[in-house]
């Protein structure tokens, strides 16, 4: 047993991080936000009541193809078939990086469609999929999996995740719900780790009452609890990527959802008023984290699965 990342896994993580930092740094994030937002910051007043302005194209297709070229979507396809021959652990590391930088788009659906839907593996096609009562990125997807009849657009809480509601779909489980849960958990983990870093960074530098706010025990403890949730979730997510056991995946998603949502909220609290502005990125982490909690049946289903696991099998 050696749970640590292998050298190859570390290299993969470094590679994805470098790619995303280069191609989806803060400026690109804010530019995407302005596109989603119609007229950018100046359009804020219109945005408040939920209308999308502009042409509605938010995804950067060039970036999507670059992701494809870098193997983000084909990561788990066999090496002979144009893939990188990697496994779920490597996919989880890549999606964790995507979560860190708030990379937009139906990444999970496209990744899962690689090899099955033409163009998905290479990033030529944007693929989305119905998931329970929601479907993300319907208007910008080239291929839509599942029945989306009667889909109605919402004014999306997360400006970088357009969503449609599906009528009467309830919480029907998609066949690949397990992988959606796992990869979504990986994104949550990345977001949680990032908001913990942002909070600590802010606490080290922001001064109030003549000292960095991070010298106040109350702020220290908020940050410490954030890290505890991140590291606990990390252990669960990485382990689930190795075992692919349904109960492990359910545990990973529960803990990662919580780490991401509470992390973003605590990060906001540490930032005080400054985090409350549109210019801050903290709210984007919170809105995305909230959005992800709705995937694959949500926390309730995961908790029920984990309860059932307690009485059904061996521990």
């Amino acid at each position: 047993m050696d749970f640590r990342l292998t050298d190859d896994q570390r290299a993969l993580r470094r590679g994805v991080r470098a790619l995303l930092e280069g191609r989806f740094g803060r400026e690109a994030l804010r530019a995407a936000l302005d596109r989603a937002d119609g007229e950018g910051a100046a359009g804020g007043r219109e945005r408040a009541d939920g209308r999308l302005r502009g042409d509605g194209r938010v995804l950067d297709r060039g970036l999507w193809r670059e992701l494809g070229a870098a193997g983000f979507f084909a990561l788990r396809l066999p090496e002979g078939g144009g893939g990188a021959g990697q496994g779920l652990p490597e996919a989880v590391l890549a999606f964790e990086e995507a979560g860190r930088v708030l990379l937009p788009g139906p990444l999970i659906a496209t990744h899962l469609a690689a090899g099955a839907v033409a163009g998905a593996a290479t990033g030529e096609a944007v693929v989305t999929s119905a998931d329970g009562g929601l479907v993300e990125w319907l208007d910008e997807a080239d291929v839509v999996l599942g029945d989306v009849t009667g889909a109605e657009p919402l004014a999306p809480l997360d400006p970088l995740t357009p969503v449609h509601r599906l009528p009467g779909a309830g919480a029907a489980r998609t066949p690949d719900g397990l992988l959606v849960s796992l990869l979504s958990a990986a994104e949550q983990l990345g977001s949680a780790a990032r908001t913990c870093e942002i909070a600590a960074q802010h606490a080290r530098t922001r001064e109030q009452f003549g000292r960095p706010v991070g010298a106040f025990q109350a702020v220290q403890h908020l940050c410490a609890d954030m890290l505890v949730r991140v590291e606990t979730a990390r252990a669960a997510v990485y382990a689930a990527s190795v075992t692919a056991d349904p109960a492990d995946v359910a545990a990973a998603r529960l803990l990662a959802d919580e780490a991401a949502v509470r992390g973003a909220r605590d990060c906001l609290q540490v930032h005080g008023g400054m985090g409350f502005t549109w210019e801050s990125d903290v709210h984007l982490h919170l809105k995305r984290a909230w959005t992800r909690t709705h995937r694959a049946g949500g926390a309730t289903r995961s908790e029920e699965e984990l309860a059932e696991d307690l009485v059904s099998g061996a521990v």
């Binding site: 910051a41 804020g44 007043r45 219109e46 945005r47 408040a48 009541d49 939920g50 329970g132 009562g133 929601l134 919402l154 004014a155 999306p156 809480l157 997360d158 969503v163 509601r165 001064e207 109030q208 009452f209 003549g210 106040f216 025990q217 109350a218 702020v219 909220r265 906001l268 609290q269 005080g272 008023g273 400054m274 985090g275 409350f276 502005t277 549109w278 210019e279 801050s280 903290v282 709210h283 919170l286 909230w290 959005t291 709705h294 309730t300």
Partner: protein, 384 residues
């Protein structure tokens, strides 16, 4: 422990209800939230109606033009207007609830005569220039400078989180007049005319997407020294005095509104089936307990204020800690009930969930409130 209202209080409530029932249907349609001039006009129009009906400055002293109502009457007023769906105080907030009381309490006769009547009559709007980018929780660290030049102060600096700056006539401004003095000394209170040259207002967009606030940049703005309330360098005390006007009523309307929302959330859950989830249902039951208690705590604080002559003391911190937390819990529970629709910004509760996030930050973070409770009520040593 008397929770029944006196005949006088009941009569006050009945008259108010009757008046509200008659006047609310005559109101013009609500303006778009993005049309500031229209919002100003709407809010001032409502204030004028209150003035004409004798409800303006209800809680102000009579010698300031107010009605000298008791805290209990004020509570009844806030409860009934909220329940009736009357307009919010809106653009009149700073004038009626902060700057006005400050002038009433600390201003000269001339200043009172100049500034108070237009507030009561709904003719002038005030905004507040207190917070700065580097002086949020630590308000006394403010750095906006003012120096004396003849009969004027010349002010440079910047303020943040200023509501209604775009349409305000006046700004109650805290400035630093003695740079060397210890933090809370050396601060002065000025009434700054918002049409003075050198003022730039820039809307500040919040995470909820709205622009309720603005940043205000001040570049050598001249403010007549006659606009100073209180002595030079005594502005911190001047500002704090105003708090005595609040008398435990600050969140009356909000608690009433939250109880209504909670009930609506429960009914929505019954409608969409989430009511069958015992965990969610009981969570709503627990919130019912919280908000019932918050209402009683409000009555408690108001009774204390009425009994002790008006200064609410630190009980406000206890209330704010409990309330800000409960409010966030309420909208989290609402999101649970909404299910996928919790991702819809078109749902009012989704926006409310976002804005509720500010409650543990604005007007003293929960961390600072806990310090206040620990040190001033429980007598713990000053935290470090």
């Amino acid at each position: 422990m008397d929770l029944t209202y006196t005949p006088e209080e009941e009569e006050f409530r009945a008259r108010l209800r009757t008046w509200l029932a008659g006047v609310l249907p005559t109101l013009p349609p609500k303006p778009s939230p993005h049309d500031w001039p229209a919002r100003r006009a709407y809010d001032l129009g409502w204030q004028r109606m209150l003035y004409d009906a004798g409800y303006a400055g209800l809680h102000w002293p009579v010698d300031a033009g107010g009605r000298g109502a008791t805290p209990t009457q004020h509570l009844i007023y806030l409860e009934e207007t909220e329940k009736a769906g009357a307009p919010y105080v809106g653009a009149n907030f700073v004038g009626l609830l902060h700057a006005g009381p400050t002038v009433a309490s600390e201003g000269s006769a001339e200043q009172r005569a100049r500034w108070l009547p237009p507030v009561l009559r709904g003719e002038e709007v005030w905004c507040q220039g207190f917070s700065e980018p580097d002086a949020g929780s630590d308000l006394a660290a403010l750095r906006t400078r003012a120096w004396r030049d003849g009969d004027d102060y010349v002010v440079s600096g910047s303020k943040i989180w200023t509501s209604h700056a775009e349409v305000a006539d006046w700004c109650e401004l805290l400035v630093r007049t003695a740079p060397g003095a210890r933090k809370h000394r050396g601060i002065t209170w000025l009434a700054m005319p918002m049409d003075a040259p050198g003022i730039t207002v820039r809307p500040l967009r919040t995470l909820a997407g709205s622009t309720e606030f603005a940043e205000v940049f001040l570049d050598e703005v001249r403010v007549p020294a006659a606009n100073r309330v209180g002595a030079e360098n005594d502005g911190w005390r001047v500002t704090m005095v105003t708090l005595s006007y609040e008398r435990g009523t600050a969140f009356v309307g909000e608690v009433v509104a939250c109880r209504r929302v909670l009930s609506e959330v429960a009914r929505e859950a019954r409608k969409n089936g989430r009511w069958d989830d015992a965990a969610l249902r009981r969570r709503l039951g627990g919130l019912n307990a919280e908000f019932r208690a918050l209402w009683r705590l409000t009555q408690w604080n108001v009774s204390e204020a009425q009994g002790t002559g008006g200064v609410p003391g630190v009980g406000g911190s206890v209330f704010k800690l409990a309330y800000s937390h409960a409010r966030q819990e309420l909208f989290d529970a609402a999101a649970e009930v909404l299910g996928p629709d919790a991702l819809d910004l078109g749902r009012e509760w989704t926006l409310d969930r976002l804005s509720s996030l500010s409650y543990t930050i604005a007007a003293g973070t929960s961390q600072i409130q806990r310090n206040i409770v620990a040190e001033r009520i429980l007598g713990l040593p000053r935290g470090r």
